[in-house]
Amino acid sequence: MRALLMRLALVFPLLLALACNRDLQARPPTNTRLYYPTGLAFVPPEDLDAGVGRIYVASSNFDRRFDVGWVTVLDLAQVRTPDGVRSLPPPGVPIAAPPDGGSDQGRPVQFTRFTPDAGPAAIVNIASFAGLATVDLARKRLFIPSRAENDFLAVMDVSTPADGSAPLRCFFSGGTDCTVDSIDMAVEQTPGSFGIPAAPQPYSVTLATDTDEFYVTHLRPASSPAQSLTNLQNFLVRMTQSEIDAARAAFPSAGAYVPPASDFTPIGAGASNSIVVNPGTVPGAGFLYVSGRAKINASDPDVLLRVVDRETRLFAFPQIGQVYAATDARGLQRHPDGTRVYLAVDNPASLVVLDVQNPQSEGFAPSFSLVRAVPLPEGPNDVQLITRPGHAPLVIISCSVDGSLAFYDDDLGQIAALVPGVGAVPFAIAVDRRDRPDGSWARLYVSNFGDGRVAVVDVPLSDDAADGRLSPRLVGHIGPKQYCLIATDDRNCVDTTP
């Protein structure tokens, strides 16, 4: 007996040691697949008549299977079907038939390879739980906030380097680990700090088109003192491109950039989700519209929509919930002429169409009147708007729980098309717009959070494309399917084995 115990005594530390070693094993991001993709941005090709461009996809690493999240750049000309033969054509151009003479029979084509030889794509590391991605095409910058610890806003340089390396590197450091140079949006939330101003859980970035400003939304309210859950306040973060240019120059000496308190403006307690900037002379010029999620206290004004004066940074609550009792708002878009906004709300899932009433005299904040509420499939999230020649714009909503894309047509005043089966939990939408002599097309790239792929949907826009009929079609998926690794209430998640 004693001998046995002695032997066991030897074995136990060994087991313990093994266990420790397992924990230390690195789990670096993978560059041959996406993993719970969220943020998605499209960069068009040099030649809009021929190429397909590239997309940047944030893998949110939702279950922390890997050490960090990451961003993958996919050169769409390089993606291939599993046999390595077929490639993704430009929007509106049919995908070649399978080489064996068969047919896809209308099913989406799976482009599981990132390169013809199933090789890797370039990636950079960012924090886990990435939000929405925003690309500045003029300055070749990509912004992706992440909601994990540190509340990082990652900025990436997406210009094509002269040395032929991939067009993706961290903006400040120039390296591939952007967790070392990301902007901490909530330094004040460090325990023991005053707490505000801070923007915990940054979610999206919106670029101003008339200035070099950009705005950051965030989900979690900041508390003061930090982590106290008292004095909750959300902030609108306004930064400028010149500000981060200076920070880039100073990075070797100063390290990661920390935005000054003057970049933060309180906008009341309640998450902000998306922002619309009103430039120039459109109704509402000089104001931002900020969509938000559920309010925190029952007695608070609802934050489905807020109006913020860009100059004075004063804000108002239009209280949309008083005219349409939804509890949560997500994506937001504005009609190009500024007279109307489209807000995806949940519970009940609807697209709320609001007319903007703009007082004639300058400086008056716009007010909103509800003009339509269109039922949507379950789980509306991202909203994008595409203009069409000769028709009202199309508003596209990703419906994450239903796994579909809804197309609202303002001509029709209803949902004009539903594309079901886009995938599991379609999250963000990026738009590739082509106006060619043979017609206008849009291609939508949709990040499927639940299945790890990017769905590709082609939408004819003009009368000479697909005979002018609105017939959006799911043409393919990019990336291998990740299956459903966790049980969710998502009905598209049928296979829980990887």
């Binding site: 804000f315 108002a316 349409y324 939804a326 007279t339 400086g363 339509r372 499939p377 098309a417 009929r469």
Partner: protein, 835 residues
């Protein structure tokens, strides 16, 4: 025999389980419903199916969902993806009862197909028989369905839109006659009904370019009591929105509609040359687009003699009373204006009605004129429906088309039926009408309405107005007023700032108030140093402005109020400390030279105040001094955390006027008024043309033919006199002199209150989640009416039901107009809830 004995207990088991607790249906997306026979079909949009509620359960049981073949589960009818609208073939009985056929049709969001569903409660039915998609590249935008008077043919009309062109399709299906003495189909006839789709015909009827069909209604065939039916009606009323409307558009119109009549049965597709005009401006020919159209059955008035036996025969004739035929089925078409067509103003909010037996010539915006079916003439008066006052005819009254001298009436066209005066009213979600509907009147007795209508509006239970189910009178075309009063002042008194009674002399006189739409009654405060335009508790904690330098930051809402001119130079800023207490001293706001008071500082707009506080009275140079002779400054106040902006005698209009509803809810800034000049008076008036507006009118109490010029545009007016003369030599102050002085902090907010009733309480069904114990009852949506008998009778209390869908909670709620309290904010009695 043995086998039967064995089966019997099994059958009983099944029957027992049927009567068990209602299973959870997991409805998701209750966006549309339709009554067919004794069944209510409801969409579950997000699960792509319909559920069916059995409205006539066996005696003693509550209404429950029709069960699936496995009776533990409710029946699901899979349909086109995302069903959002249902239609069922309908005709109307001689007394106006809606009678449905054997089919339910469903269209989906963004879908080219229509589901054809068997609507009969039999084993082989209640399932989708087919989906038809005549244009797979289009989307179905609208549906309407009719049943022929012999019950043998069901007609479905639907439109598809392909991005440019709308196509109207006609689907003809066979239908079986059934016993119309009951809404329940006897199961012994189940064998007659098909188990698969019978032969049908489908054909395109018409095509329109650059127009979207937004709504349709199939006009019903008229069948008078005791007579054979009129020739089969084929006409449709079709509402379209023009994608390329004739320019220029009528001012205020962002989109234009064309609502027209089409007869698919006539060779050459006879289209009625006259369009329908749905427009609150009844003097123009253009129509707003409408998003929903409905019509009605015959309106027949039956006055029964209480001393005779009451008999209603199946052919619609009666014994024991007098029957008066009021209006043919399908004469009147109700439309919900499309709120998206007037740029967010109120012009295109509400329900309007058009009569198809009357025309009028009206001008077009780009010159010329058109003969149209105009907005219907309403019931001519604003009387309450009081059965004891001899005005019982009121609710069945339809003005003749001509005056006694033969001249065509063109007056008193209806005011849109809406339930609020601002954009907080949201949108009208749905509408339903019932011929000779019985409603429990405010007097506690059921009362017939020729056409009893209901609308739902979006909002929340605590919005203002609340999202309730509002009733309206579809015959006299007005809201139903449940207020027992005429507009009247019920209390006038002087008060201190804290609301305590005061003994000031004088006060408002010559108080006038018009009947109002909202709120029902309110209290008006005329205040000395009242808070200006709600600019109170303005925070100073953001570090903006510089109060010590007399620069006070303004919030966005305050800025808007100031820019609208509601604040004036001479108003005072009163600092508020951390305890919420106002400083005894206040600082007058300076004129910036142009009469405005805002200055743009680098960190935002500010108001600039004089550094010295305002004195108690205006005689000492109006600067307050300390005991040592130095002027009082902000240093004499506790550190301010916020400020209030109050009026003062230094301003041109020292008195503020504000409104509150009976529960103390601040209903609005009404404006400000000047002090009366010596031996003179000052007038305060707000109405539909003032800023802020005070639109409170629901129906002018004037008869047809009266010029609109004589109508008052003031919703509320009163005077304050410098001196009131009571008798020949009996004079008194018209306003207490202390209220004309400088800053007396003990009197801030003091003045006079006048509490009045505006004589208007719209009949509405209040529903709250808290009183019913179920969440999600904030947003009433689709409506459906179930009428069990051939004619509603008072003894059948609770039989007729109105079904309301709540898409937020995915709940179906039903009430009876004969048992519900139309003034109750939270009804709980005889309310059915299904989810």
């Amino acid at each position: 025999v043995k086998l039967r004995l064995l089966l019997l207990p099994l059958g009983m088991l099944l029957a027992c389980s049927q009567s068990g607790v209602a299973p959870a249906t997991r409805l998701s997306g209750t966006n549309s419903s339709a009554v067919s026979g004794s069944l209510l079909f409801v969409t579950s949009t997000r699960s792509n199916e319909l559920r069916v509620l059995d409205l006539e359960p066996r005696a003693g049981l509550t209404r429950d969902y029709v069960r699936a073949p496995n009776p533990l589960a409710p029946l699901s009818i899979p349909t086109v993806p995302a069903p959002v609208e249902l239609a069922t073939p309908t005709r109307y009985g001689q007394l106006g009862q809606p009678l449905q056929g054997d089919w339910i049709f469903a269209r989906g969001a963004g879908n080219p197909s229509v589901s054809i569903i068997g609507a009969v409660n039999c084993g082989q039915q209640l399932k989708e028989f087919a989906r038809i998609s005549p244009r797979p590249d289009s989307v179905v935008t609208a549906m309407a369905s009719r049943l022929t008077t012999d019950d043998r043919q069901a007609q479905l009309y639907f439109t598809t839109f392909d991005g440019n062109t709308s196509t109207l399709w006609e689907l003809i299906l066979p239908n079986l006659p059934r016993d119309r003495t009951t809404t329940i189909l006897d199961p012994k006839f189940c064998g007659n009904y098909p188990a698969s789709l019978p032969p049908y015909s489908l054909q395109p009827i018409s095509v329109w370019s650059r127009a979207v069909v937004t709504a349709m209604v199939a006009l019903p065939t008229v069948q008078h009591p005791g007579k054979p039916p009129d020739p089969e009606e084929r006409r449709l009323v079709i509402a379209s929105r023009l994608l390329d409307p004739p320019l220029p558009l009528r001012p205020g119109m962002v989109e234009e509609g064309r609502i027209f009549i089409l007869d698919p049965g006539t060779p050459g597709l006879g289209t009625d040359p006259y369009n329908l005009t749905f427009n609150p401006d009844t003097t123009v020919a253009e129509s707003f687009p409408v998003k929903r159209l409905i019509t009605h059955g015959n309106v027949v008035k039956n006055e029964f003699d209480p001393n005779q036996t009451r008999i209603i025969y199946q052919d619609g004739t009666i014994d024991g009373g007098v029957q008066t035929f009021i209006m043919d089925a399908g004469t009147r078409v109700f439309g919900i204006l499309d709120e998206a067509s007037c740029g967010g103003s109120l012009d295109c909010v509400g329900v309007m009605a058009v009569d198809l037996d009357r025309t009028q010539t009206l001008p077009l915006a780009n010159g010329g004129s058109a003969i149209v079916y105009p907005v219907a003439i309403d019931g001519f008066d604003d009387r309450r429906d009081d059965p004891t006052q001899g005005s019982i005819e009121d609710t069945y009254w339809r003005p003749p088309n001509t005056f006694d001298d033969g001249g065509v009436r063109n007056a008193n066209r209806m005011i849109p039926i809406r339930f609020g005066n601002n954009n907080l009213v949201g949108i009208v979600q749905d509408i339903a009408v019932q011929s000779s509907g019985l409603a429990l009147y405010v007097t506690g007795v059921p009362f017939y309405y020729g056409l009893l209508g209901f609308v739902t509006i979006s909002g929340t239970g605590n919005s203002y107005p609340p999202a309730r189910i509002f009733a309206f009178d579809g015959m006299t075309l007005r809201q139903i007023n449940f207020s027992p009063n005429v507009p009247q002042i019920i209390k006038a008194q002087a008060v201190l700032g804290n609301g305590a009674p005061a003994t000031f002399r004088g006060g408002p006189v010559d108080f006038q108030v018009e009947q109002g739409i909202w709120p029902y009654s309110e209290t008006t405060y005329v205040q000395y140093e009242g808070v200006v335009a709600g600019i109170g508790s303005e925070p100073l904690d953001a570090g903006l402005g510089n109060p010590k330098q007399g620069r006070w930051p303004v919030t966005i809402n305050a800025r808007l109020q100031i820019e609208q001119g509601f604040a004036e130079p001479g108003d005072i800023v009163v600092p508020v400390d951390v305890t919420g207490t106002e400083c005894p001293f206040a600082f007058p706001v300076l004129d910036q030279g142009d009469g405005g008071i805002l200055v743009q500082d680098p960190d935002g707009p500010v108001m600039v105040t004089r550094p010295e506080a305002l004195a108690l009275d205006l005689d000492g140079g109006s600067i307050a001094f300390n005991d040592d002779g130095s002027p009082v400054t902000l240093e004499s106040c506790p550190p301010p955390l916020a400020y209030n902006l109050r009026s003062s005698t230094l301003a041109r209009h020292p008195l503020t006027v504000r409104g509150f509803d009976p529960s103390g809810f601040f209903t609005g800034w009404l404006g400000r008024m000047a002090l009366p000049p010596t031996n003179d008076e000052s007038l305060f008036a707000v109405g539909d043309s003032t800023d802020p507006t005070f639109v409170r009118f629901w129906r002018p109490p004037l008869d047809a033919g009266t010029s609109a010029d004589v109508l008052s545009h003031d919703g509320l007016s009163f005077k304050i006199k410098d001196v009131i003369q009571y008798g020949l030599n009996d004079f008194d102050a018209g306003i207490e002199p202390v209220l004309k002085n400088g800053d007396d902090f003990t009197l801030r907010g003091a003045g006079y209150t006048v509490q009045f009733l505006n004589g208007y309480t719209p009949a509405s069904v209040g529903i709250t989640s808290s009183s019913l114990g179920i969440g999600g009852l904030e947003l009433p949506g689709a409506l459906a009416v179930y009428q069990r008998e051939i004619f509603p009778l008072p003894q059948n209390t609770g039989a007729d039901r109105v079904f309301v869908l709540y898409p937020q909670g995915n709940v179906i709620l039903d009430f009876s107009p004969t048992t519900v309290t139309f003034t109750g904010p939270a009804n709980t009695v005889d309310i059915g809830i299904h989810y």
